[in-house]
Structure formats: structure tokens, C-alpha cells
Symmetry: C2
Subunit: 252 residues, 2 copies
């Protein structure tokens, strides 16, 4: 029997998945003992599984003796990414928006009750922005999230409305009644302008990206830009809507 | 004992890794039996491991009953990507080059004896280009690969020079003597112009990206643009070199 196949009260793959999930963008390199702590595994178990994951190229050992995600894992996740088609369709339009608007442009999808940003072009001197590629934000607090929530399945809407609705700034929507009203407005107007709801100095503007030309086609992503609170946000809606239609056309 | 922990003559993780590697950009969705065939596993074994990987969110089942890479795997590989720092440092400079040159701009790293493209901005109407993000090309045939090879460890250079050197076009470098001469020239001049070596209609221009200001600092990436064969390639070298220096500065 192989050492990593020994029964342990939990399948090998579940333990390996927890090891992979120990890494974060801020701490992409961890020691074996830190991984063991985060993955709730004995050091000996963690050490053995990490060695096996390194053998497969899914993890790699750094010059400093720490461990990080391996190139092979990045490559295979990237190559067959679940959102590759969407990102490839969207990229030229994100680039055009970015060139014209000069601020952060990003594309988010609904995943596990949050918005997951799958693509983003950032500006060096742009207003603050807390997102990054593969970053997540709650649906009620970000412009892309609000757009996704407005057209999300009914039961997810009710679940989010049932709270909690964490506050990021004084402008964050934190009551179900206000959120319900905002979602109604988004469905009526086809866009959202969210000023200072995540960071006091930034306004998010977002529109839905549908997977077909029919106005009732499912919403597959939220397209947003983050600009300063200088009143320009609303004027960007037509450019965003045109880009969203372009992405839809390329998706088909 | 858990079902996926049963001894099988090969560790669970090795089999799981082979399953993950079954997917490609052109075939991101596969049936269980196709995965079993590609991963060289009995259908029953493949089916059980796929179910476990789906439980962990590393794979997902599509509406059509097929299987693909899960959002969680993409997210964790992306978040803690081994090249995240490099890509984040490079992106603004790639965007500037892309805006000015209007053709494909890409960043490749040396991995397992090939160039692995970790970032790329493409142009809708640009000249042909065979690369994509997370795509690979042989070192001897691509401009980014030639730059990486010119400063690669001696034993890797000798291994590539020992061949084989596959031919893509009549212009591909296929003899060790010519490759040796080209690598000498790259080290002397600090750039390469590779015309029609992968596709007859395209020229690649590449420069090295170092991880420090010292000219002897290790080369960590190759920065390249792909343009038509219209004689403009050499004029782009200064813009590429300036961008490479900018990336180096942000890496520090």
C-alpha cells in the first residue's frame, strides 16, 4: 500500500485539497508546518502529502525551503479554466474600455454566493480598488455583485436578503429593504452606480453581460469599472452596455 | 477505509493529477469515459476519483453531463500563482506596449525545457500568432524562447542543442550550429528578431526581463511582441527594452 493511501478517517483527496487551499495571494509561500496548521493536519501527514503533491508538480519547493503552488497546477487550471471562453470573449472589450476610461475595468461571475473576479485590467494611478483577479467580494457591496444578484436565482436573492449584510463604509447597503429597492432599480434600469459602498473614495458602475441577444437571456457576468466619486460614473453606462453587448456577440 | 484510499499499485494523488491533466483548452469538457481513457484508468476508478474531485470543487459537472475543471481549482491556482508577482509587475507595461504597438504582446517563462506563456494581450486584427496564455512553445523556435535559452543554465542549453529541433517553417532554426550562433548573437545584442520561424507570416521580437538592475542579474522572463514581416520589428526593440526595465524595477 502506498503511504498516502493509508486510511486516516478522511480521503486523501480531501486532505490534499485542504493543503492546496492553504495558500493565499498575500502568503503564496508557506512552510510545511504552517500548511499543516492551516489544513488541520499532523505535520507528518502534511509533510508526506506535500511531498506527493510536489512529485506531481502541483506544488513546488522554493529556494528558501518553503512550498508554493506549482507551475503545472497553474497551467492546467488556466488552460482549461471554467471561464476561459468568457474571458477570451471579454478581453478585447475590457482593453478598449480600459484605454478609453483609464481606470480599473473588471469582469465578475457569480460563484458560491459571492462575486468572483475572473479578469481585470488595472490602472497604475487609478482610484483605490480592493479587488484583484480571482479575488472575491460579497454580492451586496460591489457593483458587479449587485448586478449579478439582481438576476440571480430567487432562492439566492432571498438568502442574501436574509443577511447578514456586512458594512464596509457608511454607504454600504446593510438593510434588506434598501437592498430589495436597489435590486428592483437595477432590473428596471439595466445598470448600477454604487458610490463609496466598499471604499469611501471609489464608485463602481456595472452592467450585466448576457449569454444571448434576447433581453431575457441568462446573465453570465457583471462588467464593471471603478472610478473616482466625481460624478462621471453615470456617463460611462453607455460604453459599458456597448461592451457587454460585444462580449455577448463573441460568446455565441 | 475510504474508497479512494484503496491500494491500486499507484498513489491516489498521481491518478488524480493525471485526471486533471486530461483537460485541454480545445477540449475543456470531457466525458468520464474519455477522462478514463486519457488518464489510463479503468472507468470505475476514474468515475470514483472524479466524484471525489467534484466533491472538493476541483472538478465540476456540466449541464450536459460532462466534466470540467472546477472554479475552485482555477481560483486557488490563480490566487497563489507561482508567477503572480511577475505578471502583476508586468501587466501595466504589457498594456502600454499593446496600446502603442497594437499587436500581440506576451510574457513567457522557462518551464520544463519550454517557454510557458504566463500573460498575453492580443489584438483582434493582428497578424497570426499560435500562442495563448498558459500555452507552450519550444525554446528554439519562438523569440521569447530563444531569449530564455540564451541565458538558460548551460546544461539546458546543451540538452536543447543536442536536439531534436523540430521544424515549423523553412525559417525555423534546425541545426545546432545555427542555434549556437543565434544564441551568441542574442547575448551580444540583448534582443532577438525571429522572422517566420513559427509561422511564415509573423515576426517575433523579444528581450530578456531580469530580476535586478545589474546586467548580470538572472533572466526571469522573455518579453515579446509578434508583428507582421514588414521590417518594423527591429524598431520595436527600444520600446521592449524600456518595458523590460520597468518590469524589473517593479519586481524589486
Amino acid at each position: 500500500m502506498h503511504p498516502d493511501d493509508r486510511p486516516r478517517g478522511e480521503p486523501v483527496l480531501a486532505r490534499a485539497a485542504r493543503i492546496l487551499q492553504s495558500f493565499t495571494p498575500d502568503e503564496p509561500e508557506l512552510s510545511v508546518s504552517e500548511i499543516g496548521r492551516r489544513a488541520r493536519l499532523h505535520v507528518a501527514t502534511a509533510s508526506r502529502l506535500i511531498a506527493a503533491l510536489i512529485d506531481e508538480g502541483l506544488l513546488t519547493r522554493t529556494a528558501a525551503g518553503k512550498v508554493r503552488i506549482g507551475m503545472r497546477l497553474w497551467e492546467l487550471a488556466q488552460r482549461a479554466s471554467p471561464t476561459l471562453g468568457l474571458r477570451e470573449a471579454a478581453m478585447p472589450f475590457l482593453e478598449d474600455l480600459h484605454a478609453v476610461i483609464g481606470h480599473h475595468v473588471q469582469l465578475g461571475v457569480l460563484d458560491a454566493g459571492e462575486v468572483l473576479f475572473v479578469e481585470r485590467l488595472s490602472a497604475r494611478d487609478a482610484v483605490v480598488n480592493v479587488t484583484r483577479i480571482a479575488g472575491r467580494l460579497p454580492l451586496h457591496a460591489s457593483s458587479a455583485g449587485l448586478v449579478l444578484l439582481a438576476w440571480a436565482p430567487r432562492d439566492l436573492q432571498e438568502q442574501v436578503l436574509a443577511g447578514p449584510l456586512p458594512r464596509f463604509t457608511p454607504a454600504t447597503i446593510t438593510t434588506p429593504a434598501r437592498l430589495r429597492g436597489v435590486l428592483d432599480g437595477i432590473r428596471r434600469q439595466g445598470h448600477v452606480v454604487a458610490e463609496g459602498q466598499i471604499h469611501a473614495d471609489a464608485t463602481g458602475v456595472a452592467v450585466p453581460v448576457r449569454d444571448g441577444a434576447d433581453p431575457a437571456s441568462p446573465v453570465v457576468a457583471g462588467l464593471s469599472v471603478i472610478v473616482p466619486n466625481d460624478g462621471r460614473a453615470l456617463s460611462l453606462v453607455p460604453a459599458l452596455q456597448a461592451a457587454a453587448r460585444g462580449i455577448t456577440r463573441r460568446l455565441r
